[in-house]
Amino acid sequence: MKNKFRISNNIILLVVLIALIIMFGVLVPDGIFFMPQVLIGTTSDIAYLGVMALPMTFIILTAGIDLSVGFLMTASAMVFSKVFVATENLLIAIAAAIAAGMIFGFINGIIVAKTKIHSWLVSLATMYIFQSVTWFIGGSHSYAPGNGLVDFGTGKIAGIIPNQLIVLIVCFVIFEILDTRTTLGRYLHAIGHNEEAVIFSGVNAKMIQCLIFVMMGVMCAIAGLMFLGKSWEVNQTTALNMNIEVITLVVLGGTSVAGGVGSIRGTFIATLIIGVLKKGLALMGMSGDVYNFILGAVLVVSLIAFAYLEVRKKLASREMAVKNMNESASAE
């Protein structure tokens, strides 16, 4: 029953994706949207968001949320630039950025795991702290990456497939395996459903929560490198409201903000949808504000739609309904 529901969920998303591609293909003049380099190129603008949305799916699966992702990304990207300027060595700079992301993520994770504060509030506070880190490191300047990174970030295999997409797919495969084939993935779903039961069955749920925040930090650092490679520079305003875009990808992918329900596959398809939407609107000559508005509307609509589906699902299965009622009673 459950499995069937999840598959149909992703199929709906695929239908939306194809419908959007056809719509923009017709609306954008001269049919340039159907050209392979444009169509596949839609992913290169959004890949860095998709990379951050993968671990965010894990966090939201456990009924948490991370608002600090955008500034975490900027802060580690700035660490990269700073180290690269100092050492002129690409590998050392990349290692420094990923280490920085790991530390930032660990700060989030340890506070969430060791205190009773809910993760949205922890990450709201650390969002300000990471924002201050970007000001400490960057001042009012923006930093350009090394040429090696830009060559990779804007490069394409065979002139069609962007390197950014390759990175996204590699990360997607890793997280998909983690989600569906490992104990960690099962624990994540279980924590979202009932954290107490997971703790009582002998699993260190707090450590798992800390671990996924560290994962988030590392992926944010990678996303920061991808962003630098794509757009040449980061500054303090780059990451404003980026957390909303990442959360939109996850929620559109069918992950319930109440925890427990969701899949990495859904997030991946949602990433492709938003990529097509962003590029299509840009090709139609719409400003970024229209994209912002549509993104907000997409988030609201998908929240309501999935909440509605949840209610339907509860009504459909009496057993499920009783279980969910017990859950919500204990969760409140």
Binding site: I117, E196, N241, D289, N292, G296, I304, A329, S330, E332
Partner: protein
């Protein structure tokens, strides 16, 4: 054994905070040129009090409104245009409250009806507020607001005290009465403390949540008026991130993020604290880096203290790890 109200005040969280604020105020006044900056300090304070009250109501229910910064710009856009057209200020204030109420009512409705956490809904509203401008006629900055109107916003009493500060103190006094002596105020505490208990006691918890969100929206409308009235132009993106002030004000004042606790008098004290921190970063020339760092650390400490203070009361709530 009648308790001395003065002593019991200084033993409470607000009292300890007040002592700290007083010390900080003296230090700030001695080390910097605060007296010459007093007017802008008080002007900032007045909108922070009302915005903090708006967030206090929401957080008291265990909810949050992250869009409370961006909505001020949207309201300011409407009110700025109306002021330019020569609509009298009282009517414009009502319009501002209406716009804020509509916005918060949308969040409250989606939250109550579809049981979606208000945090995610308000995140979506942030994007909608930023993105709605191209869809409106003559969008963008509203400039050249007549001098007479900005003069009203900048009116002072006794040289330094802005008139809008007096209004915000009046609103604060009203809410001190409202939360303590009205049925609805008690209902907010009850629903925030425990939704189930409140429902069993015969309170329509969903309705109270929706109405509280609406009241908070009206307060945000007033906040927006206080923010934009003294300004000669409205730049809607200028208020993006103002929730960075309101959320710390609410949590520092002792409003527990799990809901059910908090007093309006605490808002006054913590609003002074936050306004002073902001002013200190300007006067001491520390810049944005220290400002953001301070707010982040202040939020963490305030929330940590409020969670651990009441840990015995909220144990059952916490161990389940549900979305607060």
């Amino acid at each position: 054994m009648k308790k001395n109200p003065v002593i019991s005040f200084f033993k409470s969280r607000e009292g300890i905070l007040a002592i700290f604020v007083a010390i900080f105020f003296v230090v700030l006044a001695m080390t910097s040129n605060l007296s010459s900056d007093m007017y802008s300090f008080l002007k900032d304070l007045s909108y922070m009090i009302v915005g903090g009250l708006a967030l206090m109501l929401v957080i008291m229910l265990g909810e949050i409104d992250i869009s409370s910064g961006t909505v001020l710009g949207l309201i300011g856009f409407f009110t700025g245009n109306l002021l330019k057209m020569g609509v009298p200020i009282p009517i414009v204030v009502l319009v501002a409250m209406a716009v804020g109420m509509v916005n918060s009512a949308v969040i409250g409705f989606i939250h109550v009806r579809f049981k979606v956490p208000s945090m995610v809904v308000s995140l979506a509203m942030v994007k909608l507020h930023i993105g709605i401008f191209p869809l409106l006629p003559n969008a963008g900055w509203v400039s050249n607001i007549p001098k007479e109107i900005t003069a009203v916003g900048n009116a002072k009493v006794a040289g330094v005290v802005p008139v809008i500060l007096i209004f915000s103190i009046l609103i604060l006094l009203f809410f001190m009465w409202f939360m303590k002596y009205t049925r609805f105020g008690k209902k907010i505490y009850a629903v925030g403390g425990s939704k189930e208990s409140a429902t069993l006691a015969g309170i329509n918890a969903g309705k109270v949540r929706f109405q509280t969100f609406t009241i908070s929206g009206a307060l945000l409308g007033i906040t927006s008026m206080m923010y934009w009235l003294p300004a000669s132009q409205v730049q809607p993106s200028g208020t993006n991130g103002l929730e960075m002030y309101f959320i710390p004000i609410a949590v520092v004042s002792g409003v527990s993020i799990l809901g059910g606790t908090g007093r309006p008098i605490g808002i006054l004290i913590s609003a002074v604290l936050i306004a002073m921190l902001q002013r200190a970063c300007i006067l001491w020339g520390l810049g944005n880096s220290w400002l953001y760092l301070t707010y982040g650390v202040v939020v963490l400490i305030a929330v940590y203290s409020s969670v651990t203070d009441f840990s015995s009361m909220i144990k059952n709530k916490q161990t389940t790890g549900g979305a607060a």
